[in-house]
């Protein structure tokens, strides 16, 4: 891998993933992520000319389901463990700005 991740990259990735990390954790993570990139670099050195890219590790295809309604209303059970519920709605902290 030509470019290693910087501290800023790591913090940005953490922010995108909504993961709170302190500087010490960011440093440790930086080293771990860069080690993964080294591993990828090793794999990329293999000649793959003429080999079609794969979207999945197994060469099998998606099984399809018939278009039938099979689920029933279970919202009461689901909502019994929700922190806040009103009129069937899940309540969350206000998200509009």
């Amino acid at each position: 891998m030509s470019q290693a991740l910087t501290q800023d990259d790591v913090k940005r990735i953490a922010r995108l993933a909504r993961i709170e990390i302190d500087d010490a954790q960011a440093q440790a993570t930086q080293a771990q992520l860069n080690a993964i990139f080294d591993l990828i670099a090793t794999m990329q050195a293999v000649n793959t000319d003429g080999i079609a890219p794969m979207a999945h590790a197994q060469e099998v295809y998606q099984r399809l389901r018939d278009d039938d309604v099979t689920e029933t209303d279970r919202h009461a059970a689901f909502q019994s463990v929700a922190p806040a519920v009103e009129n069937g709605l899940y309540l969350v902290p206000k998200v509009i700005e």
Binding site: H56, V60, R65, D67, V69, F78, Q79, G88, L89, L91
Partner: protein
Amino acid sequence: MKWETVIGLEVHTQLATRSKIFSGSSTAFGAAPNTQASAVDIALPGVLPVLNKGAVECAIKFGLAIGATLNRVNVFDRKNYFYPDLPKGYQISQLAKPIVEGGALTILVDGEEITVNLTRAHMEEDAGKSLHEDFHGMTGIDLNRAGTPLLEIVSEPEMRSSAEAVAYARALHTLVTWIGICDGNMQEGSFRVDANVSVRPVGQAEFGTRREIKNLNSFKFLQQAIDYEVRWQIETLEDGGRIEQATVLFDPDTGETRMMRSKEDAHDYRYFPDPDLLPVKLDEEWVEAVRAALPELPAAMQARFQRDYGVSPYDAGVLTGSRALADYFETVAKTCGQGKLAANWVMGELSATLNKAELDIAQSPVPAARLGALITRIQDGTLSGKLAKQVFEGLWEGAGEVDAIIEARGLKQLSDSGELETIIDEVLAANPKSVEEFRSGKEKAFNALVGQVMKASRGKANPAQVNELLKRKLG
């Protein structure tokens, strides 16, 4: 400076499946909140998506209908972002290998045929709904819509005016409802349009910076939003300003677009292939079975209507606005054997009356065969245009068959020339002044006499016949 507008559209069509794209929950509109949200839809830990065959089949139909390439192997990706109405923290969509690539739609704008190329169409799941009304300062989340199958249809930036964009959106709306993959209900959000709009000086090769107008749910708003946005961009540039790439919303109350506050990183979606879903394979047998079951498409039907019924390209476009309308017209035309007259009645009197009553063609109280029978009676001289309208009123009221209405209401055109001559003689005797004026060269007086005869016959005389007899008597 002269400016050119550049528009590309992204349309989200809700696919008309019974169940969701990755779960067996119902997609029916209007259910009580969260009663149609299963463990998969609310993203409980450990659940896995299972792809709905019906949704894939809708996408295949669409690809075939626009002459696109169907990727025989296509792949689902995760689009990552955080929002409470997206409980998994990612939307399952297709990025690198969508099911449909390419294809085109032909539209008619001001009598000119324009081909709009499509970039791609991909399957994805819809998010839930956030309700920001007052829940003690909190937001309410309804996940009934989460997981509803969508086909996002992306055009090339090939439209050059709001009129072209609206014509394209309408043609697309007609097509997806025609082939039955979407109910087309814009109020319920089944067909939502995002418009990418930019302007550039005429002759410049590069595109200007675009702004994206989100979530337009009517053709009228699409037109208004683009017109406002284009004016705003041109004014900004002419005042020496710059256009920043942005996402904007259209406010129908003010007729203006305004910028959505977009957070930093909002567009860093970190797509990657979804490990929970294997690549989707479309085998030839399936694709060919879907192709064989496709109905005659609007474009083919337009060409056939022009050829078989002699209607104009414009009329053919209007008449194929929906499958129901096209089928109605064709039944009328076949019944009476008069294509042009059938088109005039369907697009004229019938459409106007339906509009006034706020009814759809499928709800027409006048069956197509009866309208055809009415036109037959115009053609054979039984009815004048004016009398035909009275018979039409009878048909609308449900007064029975055409001939029965003519009989019951005494609407038959006077074809007995003896009876008509008697009326004419009476009119001439009663209007010596008009007769005198006509003989001294006043053409207008003739029309006055025709009017008197028509009136005396209570509209039942054949105007052509009246003209002829009058001329003979006065000549």
